[in-house]
């Protein structure tokens, strides 16, 4: 086991997998950096530090800086995947699905189905998401619900360095398009990472802790918030089943349903506005499939139906927090 942060886990996994499989190629804006400048290529190496050294090792045919053209980036990944490669496209911010959605949704996601199941499109689209750093309305969004809704895509959100490695490796070995979400506020999170080959199958949630009194389902950075809440609740003798979904498509429905069948109480924490959200999706799942177990109404902890504001205090008010999770748990437990 090596200790590293999520950024390092992603970078080292890309290095290892690109070495192993010469079909993997990487493209995006400034993933090399410095092209066409006096400083020369790799003057930067990816603005998030997740592609440093790849260009030098694998060359310009496999590590490609692109113009600011997200539709072309994702579309080229789609085409390269159809042509037999395993492209990894990087969206500098997940918000840029706005300028590339068609290639994700109507192209990549649908090829296999439209073409009668005879096609594989193993493209991985890495995208940096999430609020908490005052990057405001157009650079802070968590668009996983939008993509989870789209048949043909898989959606992955690691929250630990080990999961980052295991899930990225799995994405690069599979045959379907994968939306790989990296939270900008989690890159520095450290943890132990298994050495050597390490894969985590999609659709298997991580049981972060078992407490038995209430089921809290979360993903991404919200898992950390929920953990903090769970710590405080534990001090009062309240036991939380905390489920980190890891992948929202496919989703580990059994993990959620099994837990709710025990606890009878559900809190979902989702870094997004409430409407047609992942939180709603999970609450509906539980209401429909664990109805008789439910002892209290499902509680949805989300942002408000509003864009994400810039100001520190407003952004904090927008986001769920350990406190709002804790409050929701207590309210849910108080329900009779």
């Amino acid at each position: 086991m090596a200790v590293m942060n999520i950024r390092e886990a992603i970078l080292s996994t890309l290095h290892a997998e690109m070495e192993r499989d010469s079909d993997i190629m990487l493209l995006g804006e400034d993933v090399v950096g410095g092209n066409g400048t006096a400083g020369g290529p790799e003057a930067i190496g990816g603005i998030w530090g997740t592609s440093a050294g790849l260009w030098a090792k694998f060359g310009p045919d496999r590590v490609i800086d692109t113009p600011i053209s997200e539709s072309a980036i994702v579309g080229a990944a789609a085409g390269a995947a159809l042509a037999g490669k395993r492209p990894v496209a990087e969206l500098m911010f997940a918000d840029f699905v706005g300028v590339s959605l068609d290639q994700l949704w109507n192209q990549m996601a649908k090829f296999r189905y439209m073409f009668g199941g005879k096609t594989r499109c193993p493209a991985v689209v890495r995208m940096v998401y999430g609020a908490g750093m005052q990057t405001a309305a157009q650079h802070s969004q968590s668009v996983y619900a939008l993509l989870t809704a789209m048949p043909g895509l898989k959606v992955v959100l690691p929250t630990t360095p080990a999961d980052a490695k295991g899930l990225l490796t799995e994405a690069l070995r599979g045959d379907d398009p994968v939306m790989f979400f990296e939270h900008k506020a989690l890159y520095g999170v450290k943890g132990e990472v298994p050495e050597g080959e390490y894969r985590i199958p999609f659709g298997q949630a991580r049981m972060v802790r078992e407490g038995g009194d209430v089921t809290v389902v979360a993903c991404g950075r919200m898992v950390n918030f929920a953990e903090k809440a769970a710590d405080k609740l534990a001090a009062d003798g309240i036991g939380v089943d905390l489920i980190d979904l890891r992948t929202t498509s496919p989703m580990d429905e059994d993990a959620v349903l099994d837990s709710v069948e025990q606890t009878g109480r559900l809190v979902v924490v989702d870094e997004s506005p409430p409407r047609c959200s992942l939180a709603a999706d999970i609450a509906a799942l539980v209401a429909a499939r664990a109805f008789t177990s439910l002892k209290a109404p499902p509680a949805l902890v989300t942002g408000p139906h509003a864009p994400i504001p810039f100001s520190r205090v407003l952004e904090r008010a927008w986001l769920p927090s350990p406190q709002t999770v804790e409050d929701a748990v207590r309210r849910t437990l108080a329900f009779r």
Partner: protein, 325 residues
């Protein structure tokens, strides 16, 4: 023209004639009401698809448009499989899931028709980037219409190809209409699509897309440039569509006698026949024989498609993923 041997010429004619017969037959079949959805016929543009695809190998990739039947046939998709697909049958090339606008056959390097105008161009660049990694001189070809050249994706794709020196080829089939709007209106005041590609620093060619030989020769030069590592290139073909935008289009935007004129003066099949028989390269009887074979093939395809089984409704959610836990 003289560089093509007898079999090559006959093959080219066969493919063009197959596309024409396929489309003219569809035009009739659609009236029966058995084929629903959108069907966009390629008749009139055959010289483009065949003049280009005849010079590609099975390893070269093409990406097509909503008007994709011609590209499919030219690239080698099975004609019966296509007909079954358009009828929505289980035995169709895409099991009836795609229909006319979404035919693909990756085994022959046909990466898909596309219902989204402009959707394909970036994908062709991706295929070209894949080819570049392999270093075997393969290319990725994007077919686009004059309307598609206004979509942001098409521009982005051209620039990306130039920046990465991808062996990508942009084929602009200018049939002068995007749906019911003329290229004189929609393609800016410059009107010429190729000059846009030039502004990205690409080498461009222009040819008569109703003339197989002109198309073939221009594309031969272009292909030599791209396969030789000269970077991406574009070609604009001046061509015609013989039918409406989609089946059912009243075509009130056409000038009086326009269709008669283009059919009389710009029919690539008639032109081909006149040239090859005039030059004594192929005999009229040989071409007639091809026409007869093609007619029989299409008859058989339609008969098979009409009789074929629909997909099993229970399979509706199959094939979404390679695997989904």
């Amino acid at each position: 023209m003289l560089q093509l041997g007898h079999d090559q010429l006959l093959g080219a004619y066969r493919r063009m004639a197959t596309i024409r017969a396929f489309e003219e037959r569809l035009h009739e079949e659609i009236k029966t009401g058995e084929i629903a959805g959108f069907t966009h016929l390629y008749a009139g543009q055959e010289a483009v698809a065949v003049g280009i695809c005849d010079q590609l190998t099975i390893e070269d990739k093409i990406v097509s448009t909503h008007r994709g039947h011609g590209h499919c046939i030219a690239k080698g998709c099975d004609v019966k499989g296509m007909m079954l697909e358009i009828y929505g049958r289980a035995g169709g090339l895409c099991k009836g899931r795609g229909g006319s606008m979404h035919i693909a056959d990756l085994d022959v390097g046909m990466l898909g028709a596309n219902g989204i105008v402009g959707g394909g161009a970036p994908q062709a660049v991706g295929a070209a980037l894949a080819a570049k990694v392999d270093g075997k001189g393969r290319v990725g070809v994007a077919f686009s219409g004059d309307g598609a050249c206004n979509q942001g994706t098409t521009f982005e794709a051209m620039n990306l190809a130039v920046v990465t020196r991808a062996p990508a080829i942009f084929v602009f089939e200018n049939n002068h209409y995007s749906e019911h709007t003329g290229d004189a209106y929609a393609v800016g005041t410059a009107r010429d699509i190729a000059s846009r590609a030039e502004a990205f620093g690409m080498k461009v060619w222009r040819a008569n897309g109703c003339d197989f030989f002109d198309t073939y020769e221009a594309f031969r030069d272009l292909l030599e440039h791209v396969r030789g590592g000269g970077g991406p290139a574009a070609i604009e073909l001046d061509t015609e569509r013989f039918y409406g935008h989609f089946e059912g289009d009243p075509q009130r935007y056409r000038g009086p006698g326009e269709i008669d004129r283009i059919r009389a003066e710009r029919d690539c099949l008639k032109g081909f026949r006149a040239r090859v028989t005039g030059a004594g390269l192929l005999a009229g009887a040989e071409l007639d024989a091809v026409d007869a074979e093609v007619a029989a093939l299409i008859d058989a395809a339609v008969a098979e498609a009409r009789a074929a089984a629909d997909p099993d409704p229970a399979t509706v959610a199959d094939d979404v993923y390679a695997e989904y836990h």
